[in-house]
């Protein structure tokens, strides 16, 4: 089959590799009909997530048709149409039973690597480095899905792939970000990053009762989606003016009730400390650039909540923790507990409350993926979301 492989920092190639096989009795093989490139794939592309091995198949947002199931799979059968959550969970450990699916104890074969870095290991993810399990990802024509009775959600309606594909990651991730933000009716919520997760966060914040959502970004096409499709008030920070001050004004002096960091470890900024972070990260003296986190801590109102769906990987410098303490701030973060949100969010899509396909800007074949990683990283060509049909032949065009 054809698969998108990580071949080193800034290097992604399409290779012909073996088809995946059933390795465990609860596995299923899925023929992928649609897959996507995620913003968090850029952390891999840019080499900031450790423990990638050249040859790794990328991709953790995908859906398709069940091709084959293992002997212990009871709920799925060949021909079923499914969306796969990007976190892999066993469904029966202490954490899964507490709905902390992204903390599953039993899905990561490389748990010892995560334990060495993080103390304990979270659940495994598809196509997201060997700390997170080393599972082959879904920017490919086929994929092996472990615990097939636990993760995949069956799509039994006739909604097109593009309307349900984002249940695999970015819609639930944005939704959990809003849930973690403890939003009360009428709250003002600030969201850094109007990329795919940020846009779903804005939409979800309104679903949960937010009065006003403020989006912070620097790309006009993203701010336009946030403003026109999601109904956010927007701040373009590229002019170098203070985001903290703008947020104070827009929240009528109090600070936003909730601040959401939908950017993570590769944040951009316009101030001196942001430049310092960029240098330190380039010299490998710092793993993450916490510009957004600092702004969120500084901006949030007293006793407010900071929710962090943006990915962080290592250690952070110069975090204004005193401000967080001084204001009594609540913080919640982590990979998405996907399995909790699949069914309720599918129902919202079925009822027409949201059409998740609104943010798609590019539809491509698998051969174009390496070029599009570059476009995606550099935010060229007004890109807002790239969806891949791994079977369409684009070589002739």
């Amino acid at each position: 089959m054809k698969a998108v492989c990580w071949m080193g920092t800034g290097k992604v190639e399409v290779h012909n590799v073996d088809d995946p096989k059933i390795l465990n009795p609860q596995d299923a093989i899925i023929k992928i009909t649609r897959t996507a490139i995620c913003g968090s794939d850029l952390h891999l592309y840019d080499g900031y997530i450790p423990s990638m091995e050249s040859g790794d198949i990328l991709g953790h947002e995908f859906m398709g048709i069940v091709e084959e199931v293992g002997s212990e799979v009871k709920k799925l059968k060949r021909g079923d149409r499914v969306v796969i959550p990007f976190t892999i969970a066993c469904g029966n450990c202490f954490f899964c039973r507490k709905d902390l699916w992204s903390c599953c104890d039993n899905s990561n074969p490389n748990a010892h690597v995560a334990e060495a870095m993080y103390g304990y290991s979270g659940s495994a993810l598809f196509g997201y480095s060997h700390i997170y399990g080393g599972y082959a990802g879904g920017q490919a024509q086929y994929v092996r899905v472990p615990f097939a009775d636990v993760g995949p959600i069956k799509i039994e309606n006739d909604l097109p792939d593009e309307k349900v594909l984002f249940l695999s990651d970015i819609f639930p991730t944005g939704y959990q970000a809003a849930v973690n933000a403890n939003i009360e009716p009428g709250d003002t919520v600030a969201v850094w990053g109007a990329g795919p997760v940020g846009l779903f966060t804005i939409a979800s914040a309104y679903m949960l009762g937010a009065g006003k959502v403020i989006a912070i970004d620097r790309f006009p096409e993203r701010l336009a989606l946030a403003r026109d499709y999601c109904g956010a008030t927007t701040i373009d920070y590229s002019d170098g003016k203070s985001v903290v001050e703008a947020l104070r004004d827009l929240s009528f002096g109090a600070g936003p009730d909730s601040c959401i960091d939908a950017v993570g470890m590769e944040a951009h900024g316009t101030d001196v400390v942001a430049t310092y972070d960029k240098m330190k990260q380039a010299l490998m003296m710092e793993t993450d650039r916490p510009t957004v986190l600092r702004q969120a801590i500084q901006s949030v109102r007293k006793g407010g909540t900071i929710s962090i769906p943006g990915v962080y990987g290592g250690t952070l410098d110069k975090v204004n923790f005193g401000a967080a303490f001084g204001k009594g701030v609540i913080m919640k973060m982590g990979q998405t507990n996907m399995h909790s949100y699949l069914q309720p969010l599918l129902e919202r899509v079925e009822k027409g409350e949201i059409d998740p396909s609104f943010l798609i800007s590019h539809r491509i074949g698998i051969e174009q993926v390496p070029d599009m990683y570059k476009v995606w990283r550099d935010k060229k060509d007004n890109v807002t979301k790239i969806v891949i049909d791994p079977w369409v032949d684009t070589t002739a065009a």
């Binding site: 089959m1 698969a3 492989c5 071949m7 190639e13 290779h15 590799v17 073996d18 088809d19 995946p20 096989k21 059933i22 390795l23 465990n24 009795p25 609860q26 423990s51 091995e53 050249s54 040859g55 790794d56 198949i57 002997s71 212990e72 066993c90 469904g91 029966n92 450990c93 202490f94 039973r97 104890d105 039993n106 899905s107 990561n108 074969p109 490389n110 748990a111 010892h112 690597v113 495994a124 060997h130 399990g133 080393g134 599972y135 082959a136 490919a140 092996r144 472990p146 615990f147």
Partner: protein
């Protein structure tokens, strides 16, 4: 070697409440490596005990075990594979103490690991979260501490094997299988990719668990795991 004092198995007990914490043995000296692992497993003690006591089935979930044959009520013949090599070695194992549902202490009676002891205890979690499994091992390492250091490079020091074995038991019982990524498709790994695979311990074979493809022959696969969903 038989004069080397083994761990006093009566002291191997995880303090459940009302006691000062005493570190479990974790040291290297006199050619011995002492290591321990603790996990809370979502299953009852008897299920876990039965699985551990079923020597014939150990190759399914214990790392590096090729086969175990029962030779008496308390004795068995083991074939093991050294981590990171094709080299196999054999020895006689003996269960020294056996308290059903609670504790098993066993010893290696000959071969390169002669004098190695394992003590595993199963205690109910105080607040109903399953069973606390504590494994304390006293390894006599082939090649001494130098051999131990060599094995550690590929993420399979005796300390790590102790941790992984308890983890595999937990995975098998709680989720019905041992997660694996070996032999899945990948693009060309290249030299650096292969080196990383080795360093991260991915070249160590994952025990088959309930995987049919890699099941050792003549082993009863069904009904091994009582606690799985």
């Amino acid at each position: 070697m038989s004069t080397t004092p083994a761990i006093d198995s009566s002291t191997v007990r995880f303090p459940l409440t009302g006691a000062d914490y005493t570190p479990l043995p974790d040291d290297k000296k006199d050619g011995h490596v002492r290591a321990h692992a603790v996990q809370t497993v979502n299953a009852d003690a008897m299920t876990l005990y039965n699985l551990w006591r079923n020597e014939m089935a150990l190759p399914i979930w214990m790392e590096g075990v090729v086969s175990v044959t029962r030779t008496g009520d308390t004795t068995s013949h083991w074939v093991m594979q050294a981590p990171g090599t094709e080299k196999q070695f054999e020895f006689e194992g003996e269960v020294m103490e056996d308290i059903p549902g609670k504790k098993i202490t066993s010893r290696v009676n000959n071969g390169p690991m002669e004098g190695t002891t394992d003590t595993v205890t199963f205690e109910p979690h105080l607040f109903g979260r399953g069973t606390v499994v504590t494994l304390v091992s006293d390894f006599v390492v082939p090649g001494g501490l130098l051999g131990n250091a060599a094995a550690a490079i590929g993420s399979r020091s005796p300390e790590q094997i102790t941790i992984e074995n308890v983890r595999h038991l937990k995975q098998l019982v709680e989720s019905g299988q041992i997660p694996r990524v070996t032999s899945q498709p990948a693009g060309p790994r290249g030299v650096i990719g292969k080196w990383k695979e080795f360093i991260l311990g991915e070249t160590n074979p994952t025990p088959p668990g309930t995987s049919e493809a890699e099941q050792p022959e003549d082993l009863p696969r069904k009904n091994l795991v009582g606690g799985a969903k």
